[in-house]
């Protein structure tokens, strides 16, 4: 099923006509992005910005980059919008098949490794940086990061996308373990705000989802509700 959908194709078929069009019509659609996920006791908080860009043109300023894989597992997508959508759809289908055959929801690690299998085996054809986060009854909240190339590693905090480069120092200085749900949501909101204010490819609203055993709670922080930091 995965092989049929992901045959390799080149990213841009340039022709002489493209030279006459504005560049944003032929650039690939990217989610140049700020995404992150944080574990806390009882679940995970995932967050993302909402900008999708085609070159300098913002093709969607209210994107939802937090994609459902199962009822308790979400993924944050960065890189090529097409690649990450296709991968997420395939993994979601495989997880649903697993749920039907096993009689219980699949574990977060299983979903994360399914992402990894696709991202690693098709690494030359894909551009996808994915953070998989969720809750299962075996271990609780987990965050797995799968950067370009298809490595997988579990981390208590994971950040990704072009905006993440601006906030490595911030999370190192601010993150502390054993935060409660509200502290974790605030941490995610502040970090993403800092990232999207500095990164040209990130922007719009901050979308947050809190995943626990009781379900998924989604929040959207509009741009003027974001915290104010030093503007200089």
């Amino acid at each position: 099923m995965a092989a049929a959908v992901l045959s390799s194709q080149s990213v841009n078929q340039a022709s002489h006509i493209d030279a006459l069009k504005p560049s944003w019509l032929s650039n690939e659609v990217l989610t140049g992005t700020s995404i992150m996920a944080v574990e806390f006791d009882g679940g995970v908080v995932v967050g993302a910005d909402s900008r999708t860009s085609m070159g300098t043109y913002v093709s969607n300023r209210v994107t939802d980059k937090l994609t459902r894989v199962t009822d308790r597992i979400y993924c944050c997508r960065s890189g090529s919008a097409a690649d990450t959508q296709a991968i997420a759809d395939i993994v979601a289908a495989q997880m649903e098949l697993l749920e039907v055959t096993m009689g219980e929801p699949p574990r977060v690690r299983v979903a994360a490794n399914t992402f990894k299998e696709i991202c690693y085996n098709y690494r030359d054809s894909l551009m996808a940086g994915i953070i998989v986060a969720g809750w299962d009854k075996a271990i609780g909240g987990q965050v797995y990061t799968i950067p370009l190339g298809g490595m997988i590693v579990r981390q208590p905090v994971a950040i990704g996308g072009s905006g993440s480069t601006y906030v490595w120092g911030h999370i190192d200085a601010t993150y502390k373990p054993n935060m409660n749900k509200q502290e974790t949501v605030d941490f995610v909101k502040n970090t993403l705000t800092l990232a999207l204010t500095r990164d040209g490819s990130s922007g719009g609203v901050v979308r947050v989802a809190v995943i626990t055993k009781d379900g998924v709670e989604r929040q959207t922080f509009l741009h003027n509700d974001l915290p104010q930091f030093y503007q200089g």
Binding site: M1, V5, A93, Q94, E96, L97, V100, T101
Partner: protein, 250 residues
């Protein structure tokens, strides 16, 4: 019908037009434990005969009602191992369909898929037909319930109520007598009809039947033993009352 040179290879017709292997497969189905299905107004109910298990066997490893997707149920009669293959193929197809067209399968579609698979095995070399008859029930996206029956030849038909397996004829006759739109207009009525139908041919007792219920946009529900016992007790009482009325009429 038996023991001629025309029942060896499945691809060969007999002079009088029989595919003996298919008919033998249908015989295998008639040996399996009974499965009954009823389509109610807004509910579908499947009920299977629970064979008694040896003392040391783990009871829960025998599952004769399975979900194919969160809106499709299947019960079967016949070879369990053959059914397992069909179930796996059908489950994968349900997901593949959703992945490609972003819509859950219609009950008719997945039934047709299973029936086509069965038919293929009646027309190829070196393979025998599946020895199962499947009762497929569920809800389409628009909320309409459906109940289909497939058989080893690869035909499928839609029903308001039907049974397959051992004593299916007796159960079907009971259903023909007692099925009415009014009887199945409620969930409770549909469940009672199915259980009563199966109890015609199975030793009475909640531990001998397994009942699964599905409603539109709701996950499948297996009836727990205490609700089953209550229903069986109510059915027994109704049967006694009917017998009393008959006696008094005489």
């Amino acid at each position: 019908m038996s023991g001629s040179s025309y029942d060896r290879a499945i691809t060969v017709f007999s002079p009088d037009g029989h595919l003996f292997q298919v008919e033998y497969a249908q015989e295998a189905v008639k040996k399996g434990s009974t499965a009954v299905g009823v389509k109610g107004k807004d509910v579908v109910v499947l009920c299977v005969e629970k064979k008694s298990v040896p003392q040391l066997q783990e009871e829960r490893t025998v599952r004769k009602i399975c979900i194919l997707d969160d809106h499709v149920l299947m019960a079967f009669a016949g070879l369990t191992a053959d059914a397992r293959i069909l179930i796996n193929r059908a489950r994968t197809e349900c997901q593949s369909h959703k992945l490609t067209v972003e819509d859950p399968v219609r009950i008719e579609y997945i039934t047709r898929f299973i029936a086509t698979l069965k038919q293929r095995y009646t027309q190829s070399n070196g393979r025998r037909p599946f020895g199962t008859s499947c009762l497929i029930a569920g809800f389409d996206m628009d909320g309409t319930p459906h109940l289909y029956l497939t058989d080893p030849s690869g035909t499928y038909t839609e029903w308001m109520a039907n049974a397959t397996g051992r004593s299916a004829k007796t159960v079907r006759e009971f259903l023909e007598k007692h099925y009415s739109e009014e009887a199945v207009s409620t969930e409770e009525g549909s469940i009672k009809l199915v259980v009563r139908a199966l109890l015609e041919v199975v030793q009475s007792g909640a531990k001998n039947v397994e009942v699964a219920i599905m409603k539109h946009s709701e996950p499948m529900r297996m009836l727990d033993i205490s609700s089953l016992e209550k229903i069986v007790a109510e059915i027994e009482k109704e049967k006694e009352e009917e017998a009393e009325k008959k006696k008094q009429k005489k």
